[in-house]
Each structure stands twice: as structure tokens, then as C-alpha cells.
Amino acid sequence: MGRIEWAMWANEQALASGLILVTGGTVAVAAQFKGWQFAAYAIVAGVFICLLEYPRGKRKKGSTMERCGQKYLTAVVKVFGPVTRNYYVRAILHAALAVPAGFLLSTILGTACLGIASAIYLLAAIRGEEWNPIEQKPQERPQVGGGTIKQPPTMPPPRPPPETRKKQPAEEASQENPIPVTIEVGGVGR
């Protein structure tokens, strides 16, 4: 298993654990079980974990699929620098967050899953992995003609030959348009 990035799986596991903590906590708080205060804590911890783990880190090799709308959270998580970048910190953090939820049956499943996520993060950290944010690429120009035309003409017909176009069009154009012309992209061939 040479090139596996364990952090990717740990991320999925931690996200699932966050959701489980929130669910278990909500049930216990809503039905007012004994010890529901632990459940209230679990809800808060679960939400925090979901927010932390939602932005997927960048893979070392190959392209990474972003989760829907993760760029806003990426910006926030990036701010904390080494604290969120380092996986040892995450492993210890998740282990610590998991412990209080283990005192109530409703949230104990969250504890187990978060504990496993913490162990996988530890493994990832030992192998030297790091969390790197996925940066936005610049927007590409919208394609015309199904992507088969690379450079659509920018002047409407009739077009003067290229030599005349290089000079100032106002002085050297071979004809003057009687009415103002608006350039529409996509009007080719109509």
C-alpha cells in the first residue's frame, strides 16, 4: 500500500464521527436522558469537528475533488496555519474531544468512531502527511462553438484584412459603419 494518503480516509471518518456525535447528542438532549449535559457537549464538539473536517486537504499526487462549497471553510481553516496543517495536532485534538462523549450511551458511538479517526490521523502524521488547502484556479473563458473554435473573431463582418486591423481602426478603416455595431460572441456563421 505504497502511496496511500491515510489523511484522506481519516478525514472521511472524522466527518462521519462529527455527524454521529451531533445526532446522538440531539437525541439525548431532546429526550432529556440522564446525563444530557454530555450530549450537549457532544453536539457542540460534533459541529466543530464537522466544520474543521469539511474542507478536504490537497492530495500530494493527482487532482483532489473538492467538496461542495468548501472554499469558504478552507479560507477559515487556512488561517490557523500550523495548528490545522499538522496532523499530530488533529490526532490529539480528536482523541481529546472524543473522551467526554464516552460517558453517555447516546454519544459513545461517536467516541468510538472519532477514536478510530484519531488513530488514522496519527498514522498519517507519522508518515509525514500535511493538510494543504486547495487553491482556486482562475476562471476559464467560456467556450464558443462546442469547444472546437479556439479564437472566435472579435470584429463583426465585413472585416478588413489583418494588416489594416493592426493600425488605429478609426483612421485607417476601409469603411465606416453607418450604424453603431455591437459585438456579440457566438454570432459566427449565423
Binding site: 496511500i4 480516509w9 472521511e12 437525541v27 439525548a28 475533488m65 453517555l104 450511551l105 447516546s106
Partner: protein, 565 residues
């Protein structure tokens, strides 16, 4: 909408039936546990959480039974074989086996959540009832039969100084429940598409936790903690009547006589649901293992450009059909991993071959191992062949074959088979016309396929059937220099990229044009569209199939088939 029905009626029926059964089971057992007199006193302690837990348990049993069936490859292949008398559409549906498996898995996850939430409530309320000392009906019921040896109690919690968590971990259903849920969660997180496509080994090994899941599921209900009033007791004690006056149970009373109620457990029944699929699946794995033990001789190894490895092999008793795939295992690379590859040889050849592209850990290691050219070639084990959609190519009058990049491999087999059929002058081919589209990014990948296409071109011309096979090659990763060369060599007879008579097109095909051309050329035929490639392409092809199919059964109809791995 009409076109969608024509193409998808069978999976829609299967899904509707499955959904209907789920709803029926849930509602029926919910009402049973919520209304039946037998569980009257259980409901006093637990409310409707009992019904929620039991109804979801039934659905969990049902879906756990179903989930193993779509992954029994050999069984499915067998069904495909025996379905040769059935219509095309029935066999096509076996392609959707993985989709169904995932759907059932998500349903299991959903019902597990419902079941656990209901049982969280149950444990909590059982505990509360046991600890209550206020003489209420709940506390009286909880104290019944607690000290006796007989198994007639209602409340499974026997101590009044315990917590639900402690009870969970010291009872069989609680402990097995936690273990199998953790196993389920690990299986689900490692099966996410992103993980599966990038790190297949994690998915493959973690998924074997299903063994723990099924073992735990069967043991889960053994302890019989769900209790209802026994039939015998119901005769002597009518709950609707007697519940009003619990303090007088067992004593003679001039108004009514109520004996103390007695309770028994519902027997464990998960095993009845999952036994048959487990046996089938065990048989499937044994069969795979046995087939893999048979000796495979590697007769030729070719390394093509673009890191493509071709292995030609021979195995006793191996017979294949067009477009099938095999699973390959190489112990020197990895003992336990099996990976699927489409066969690229024709059934008429005396060897079978696969073309393997470097796409991850295992494939790269395999290519390295073979490139090292050790004196003893590494041992290979083969399981298969298994059939998928391409087998059906010759059943259609007109076929459109679309392969993207390495996705052309099933069609390599088809084209070779055509060549052999021509050589043997096989006149009873049902297929009258084949349109072949190959989309590729760079020219390097063309190399190994070139010879095949060149010889096919020659063959077609010699036998005077130049119109039978229409090849359209699309180079999607072109740049200015290649385009310049093509323009310069426009008048030449053969193509500058491939050396074939058929010119290479540049850029992606415009599918609407292609489909309307085919529809116009064959207005009354049934056209099969076969794709081996990315999901995005499948979507656009599917759309075109719907768009250009006519509702009139006598006119042109496009059927879409997709390979998936």
C-alpha cells in the same frame, strides 16, 4: 419522459418493488408492535420506541439479505448465460448490480440510524422504570419476576443502580450492536467514491469487515431481550382490562381476577433472512478461489508506449466471449488483491490477453515486475471470465461503440472477433453495421491499436465490405503543431497521425450530429450504444439515446449500455 420509460422500465420496476417491500415491512411491523395486545405492557415501558426499533430491524434483516446478492459475480454470470432466451433488456439490468448494492447499503445505514436511536430511548426508559420507586405501573411491571429463576420478566435490566451504557456493554445485543455498527461505519467511510477511486486497497481490505457485520448480526438477537406477554398469560390476564389496577394482580377480587402477567421473548430471526445469501456468497468465494488455483501460463509479454502492458496467457479450459472481463491476482505484487481487466483478445484466438494501464499502486508494481524481466516470470492467477454488456454487441442490428482512452479495450475484442468472423466468412452475423468511436488524448496510446485497425481496413477492402465498419478516431488533446501537420498533409491518402486511411478527427465529437446521422441512415433499426469511459460521457450519450429514440416500436430505437468498474 416516454423515452426514459422505454430505456429504463426494468430497473424502475425492480426499484419500485424493492421500495414497496421496504415500506410494507416497515409499516406492517410498526403497526404490529404498536397495536398488538401482546406488547401492551412493553409499550407501557417504552412507548412507540419499541415499534420503531422492531420495524427498522425487520427492514435491516431484509436489506442485509439483499446486499450480498449483487456481488455474487459468478451467480450473475450464470443468470446472464441462462437468460439467452430472454429479451435484451433483462440482461442489461444485471449491469446495474453495483448501483443496487450501493443503494441497499445506504438503506442499511439509514435503518441502522433509526434502529439505534430507538434503542437508545429503550435502554434509557427501561433503566428509568427499573429505578422508579413510585408504585407506578412501570415500576410494578419492572419488578415482576426479577428474582425468580424462570424467564418470565419483562424488563431486561435487573439492577436499579446501573446505567444504560453499562447494560449495553454487558448484554449480547448491546455489545454486538456496537461492534457491527462500528464495522458498518468503517465500511461506509472507506467506500466513498473519492477513497475508492484513489486508494482502492483501503476500500478493498476494509470492506471485508462485512464478515464481522454478518457474524454480529446473526448473534445479535440471541439473548431475547425483546419481550411480549405469552399467549398462556394473555388468556388469564387481559392487559386492557387489568392494567388499571396493578396492585390487585394475583389476588382474588370480586370484580375481576387478574393473574400476574408472564413474559417470553421473541426468537432471534436474523439468521433466517441472511443464511441463504451467506451460503451463496461463501460458495461464490470458494469458486473464485478454486478457479484461481488453476495454472495460468504467460505466453507473451509486451510493453507498449504510454505505460501499457499486454499479457498474453493460456489457461486450460478457459473459454470466453466478446467483451468479457477477468480478475487478475499476482502474488508477488500483492497476495490478496484481485483487479478486473477487460479481455482484449477474440474468442477465436488460442490465447487470451489483457492490456493493463498504469493507474495506481498495484498496476504500477505489476508493470515494474514484468519490466524487470526476471528469469522466472511472476505467477498470475485468473478468475473469470465474467460477462458484461459488450457480449451483446452482435445482438444488435446496428451498434455504436464508444471507447475513451483505455476504455477501448472491450471493443478491441469485438473488432478482432469481427475480423476472424470475416476470415471464416461467417454470414450469419446479426450485426449489419458498426460505428466505432475512439476518443483519445495523446497519440502514444494509439500505437498498439494501430496494427489492428490497419489490418481491419485491409480486410474490409479485400472482402468488398468496406462499409461494414465505420471507424471515427478523435484526438482530444491536439495542439497547433499537430493541427498544422494535418492541414499540411490534407491531400495525402493516409492519416499523418495513425497511418490509416480513415482520417483522424481533432477535438471531441458532436454527439447530436452523430446520433442524428445514424438515426437517419437506419430509420427502422434497433441500435445498441456501448460505452466504456467516464461518467460525464455516459450522461451525454444517455441523453442522446433518449432524444433520438422514437416511441414507435417500428422506428429507430437507441439502447444504452455502460461498462463500469
Amino acid at each position: 419522459m416516454g423515452n426514459w420509460i422505454v430505456n429504463h422500465w426494468f430497473p424502475a420496476v425492480v426499484i419500485a418493488a424493492w421500495l414497496g417491500l421496504n415500506v410494507f415491512l416497515f409499516v406492517y411491523y410498526f403497526l404490529l408492535f404498536d397495536r398488538d395486545k401482546k406488547f401492551y405492557y412493553t409499550r407501557v415501558l417504552l412507548g412507540s420506541a419499541l415499534a420503531w426499533a422492531r420495524a427498522s430491524a425487520k427492514c435491516l434483516n431484509f436489506n442485509s439479505m439483499l446486499i450480498l446478492l449483487p456481488v455474487c459475480r459468478n451467480l450473475l454470470s450464470f443468470l446472464r448465460g441462462t437468460c439467452s432466451c430472454c429479451r435484451r433488456t433483462m440482461r442489461k439490468q444485471l449491469d446495474h448490480n453495483l448501483t443496487f448494492h450501493k443503494l441497499v447499503a445506504y438503506t442499511i445505514a439509514l435503518f441502522t440510524a433509526v434502529h439505534i436511536i430507538a434503542h437508545l430511548c429503550n435502554f434509557e426508559w427501561y433503566n428509568d422504570s427499573q429505578q422508579a420507586a413510585d408504585g407506578s405501573l412501570s415500576s410494578i411491571l419492572s419488578n415482576l419476576h426479577q428474582d425468580e429463576e424462570s424467564n418470565k420478566w419483562l424488563n431486561p435490566i435487573h439492577s436499579n443502580s446501573t446505567t444504560p451504557a453499562y447494560v449495553t456493554f454487558t448484554t449480547i445485543p448491546g455489545l454486538t450492536g456496537v461492534i457491527i455498527t462500528v464495522a458498518l461505519i468503517l465500511m461506509v467511510t472507506s467506500s466513498m467514491e473519492f477513497i475508492r477511486r484513489s486508494y482502492f486497497e483501503v476500500f478493498w481490505y476494509t470492506h471485508h469487515l462485512f464478515i464481522i457485520y454478518f457474524a454480529g448480526l446473526v448473534i445479535h438477537g440471541i439473548a431475547g431481550l425483546v419481550r411480549g406477554q405469552t399467549a398462556e398469560s394473555l388468556n388469564k390476564h387481559n392487559p386492557e382490562h387489568c392494567a388499571q389496577d396493578p396492585t390487585h394482580w394475583g389476588r382474588k377480587n370480586k370484580h375481576s381476577h387478574c393473574e400476574e402477567p408472564e413474559f417470553g421473548s421473541i426468537p432471534a430471526e436474523s439468521w433466517q433472512w441472511v443464511l441463504a445469501p451467506i451460503v451463496l456468497y461463501v460458495f461464490e468465494r470458494v469458486l473464485r478461489f478454486w478457479r484461481s488455483q488453476q495454472r495460468v501460463v504467460v505466453t507473451k509479454v509486451v510493453v507498449h508506449p504510454s505505460k501499457v502492458l499486454e499479457l498474453q496467457m493460456h489457461k486450460k479450459g478457459f473459454s470466453m466471449e466478446v467483451g468479457q472481463y477477468i480478475f487478475i491476482n499476482c502474488p508477488s505484487v500483492s497476495c490478496l488483491e484481485w483487479h478486473p481487466f477487460t479481455l482484449t483478445s477474440a474468442p477465436e484466438e488460442d490465447f487470451f490477453s489483457v492490456h493493463i494501464r498504469a493507474a495506481g499502486d498495484w498496476t504500477e508494481n505489476l508493470i515494474d515486475t514484468f519490466q524487470q524481466q526476471k528469469p522466472k516470470t511472476p505467477r498470475i492467477a485468473v478468475d473469470g471470465p465474467f460477462g458484461t454488456a459488450s457480449e451483446d454487441v452482435f445482438q444488435y442490428e446496428v451498434a455504436m461503440l464508444v471507447g475513451a482512452g483505455i476504455g477501448v479495450t472491450p471493443f478491441a475484442s469485438v473488432l478482432k472477433s469481427i475480423w476472424y468472423k470475416f476470415q471464416h466468412a461467417d454470414q450469419c452475423l446479426k450485426t449489419k453495421k458498426i460505428y466505432f468511436y475512439w476518443l483519445c488524448r495523446d497519440t502514444g496510446a494509439f500505437a498498439w491499436f494501430n496494427d489492428l485497425l490497419a489490418s481491419l481496413e485491409r480486410e474490409m477492402e479485400e472482402s468488398g465490405k468496406a462499409g461494414f465498419l465505420n471507424c471515427r478516431l478523435f484526438l482530444t488533446g491536439w495542439d497547433n503543431s499537430i493541427a498544422g501537420q494535418a492541414a499540411f498533409n490534407f491531400d495525402k491518402d493516409t492519416d499523418v497521425v495513425t497511418g490509416l486511411k480513415q482520417k483522424t478527427f481533432f477535438g471531441r465529437p458532436m454527439w447530436s450530429n452523430e446520433f442524428s446521422a445514424v438515426a437517419t441512415a437506419h430509420p427502422r433499426s434497433v441500435v445498441g450504444v456501448f460505452l466504456c469511459g467516464p461518467q460525464a460521457l455516459a450522461k451525454s450519450l444517455q441523453k442522446c439515446c433518449h432524444q433520438y429514440s422514437s416511441l414507435d416500436p417500428r422506428k429507430v430505437k437507441f439502447y444504452f449500455n455502460k461498462e463500469n468498474f
